[in-house]
Symmetry: C2
């Protein structure tokens, strides 16, 4: 019996120049770059990488996690070094760790945390790919009221793209934090799981509330299906970061 | 007599994808993008732009200033709006102001301030074009001692590229500030003028001192011409920002 170790890989990336995490034919993706590097280390025998979840095009990850089974004999440290020597400089492996064969980077997720950065001051070209340049003042008090309604266990179906009909769209948003830092508003979202576009739709609606277009109670109207979420209000990808995954 | 107003333009740019500020044939430069937009506004009659000074390839500007003479009748606000509608999204005009015909954006500079950002923690791919990823701990006390020797009025010839022999290489560095913020070290340099590569050579040498390769007094040895500056030690462009210009 050959024991093939399973590695959990913790990595970070700048999503600016990628069509998202997930592999798509003819597209530049994070998964494709990672699998190419892993396969090269694995004597060119294909290595599949399974991440905690996908991230959209232009979304960044401060801490993404994925697992892969490697046939060659390699230490955790050497795998990290080998990956970083092969990867482009907008993807960086922070650590690798041998885990139990039953560990699964997606099924075993306990919670995920995303942050979303907004600039309410004047347009900053240097940060255009890293902070959403809203450049309008927001009523933080109203946004805070709305986050109180979003937190907790709800059916978030109306806060998702709803493309793929999922059986279970109930999620628990444990915490939404708002931090004001000069012209920046940084929102943190922690949940046991996020549906497709869920963070960006929540942010998009919170911004509309902060601009005074809707009252905070609009959140409940969306939950109650009284209002079809307007996907044009989805917040842009470049302000979003996968901050952490808890196992 | 036709009076052609002179505009002082305050703008910001992400230098990542440019071969620097100054126009060079066949190269993508900030000056070329700005002059193309200005010329288009000026009914396609060429507008020359004169900046406070050039910035190197990949160097950013939070506040750059330049003057231009425009023949068409246009208000300050409309010129700003027209420029921003024509410029790519990595260059942004913050304001424009009609100034005296004798005003000169380079000759009238009183002082300039640059900042340099260093990450002494682990490599961050998201900031690779905006913060120098040194990823090594620095002895800030020693760097601070060295900055004391750099400040003041000196002949900075040995802290410049020395490509073009300048008559006068005496400059006054009014202030070097060091700010530690978590894994970041931010250095601020204020002077009545900077020679070519001067900030990046100073930073490169301060880093060597912070790594313990040289004692702080090494600064005096360089001033005294005992040591030829090693240009391989020049700090990379991506950590450097033109913060402000005082007139």
């Amino acid at each position: 019996m050959i024991i093939v170790p399973r590695f959990l890989i913790n990595f970070s990336y700048d999503g600016t120049n990628y069509n998202g995490y997930q592999k798509q034919k003819g597209m530049k993706t994070i998964q494709e770059k990672m699998e190419t590097a892993l396969t090269s280390i694995n004597n060119n025998s294909f290595v599949k990488l399974t991440a905690s979840g996908r991230t959209d095009a232009k979304v960044h990850a401060i801490n993404q996690y994925a697992h892969a089974d490697i046939d060659v004999n390699i230490t955790e440290y050497k795998l990290m070094r080998a990956l970083n020597s092969l990867l482009p400089d907008d993807i960086y492996v922070k650590s690798t760790k041998i885990v139990d064969d039953n560990f699964h980077s997606r099924y075993d997720v306990i919670s995920k945390t995303y942050i979303y950065k907004i600039n309410v001051g004047s347009f900053n070209p240097i940060e255009r790919n890293y902070v959403y340049q809203l450049c309008k003042k927001l009523d933080i008090k109203k946004i805070r009221e709305a986050t109180m309604l979003l937190q907790g266990t709800h059916d978030f179906q109306n806060f998702s793209s709803n493309e793929h009909k999922l059986k279970d769209t109930v999620r628990t948003v444990n915490e939404i934090k708002l931090i004001e830092d000069g012209d920046y508003l940084i929102m943190t979202f922690k949940s046991n799981g996020f549906l497709k576009y869920m963070v960006r739709i929540m942010v998009g609606i919170l911004i509309q509330i902060g601009l005074g277009k809707y009252a905070p109670e609009y959140i409940n109207d969306i939950f109650d299906s009284k209002i079809k979420t307007n996907y044009k209000k989805i917040a842009p990808a470049q302000g979003l970061y996968l901050l952490n995954v808890t196992y």
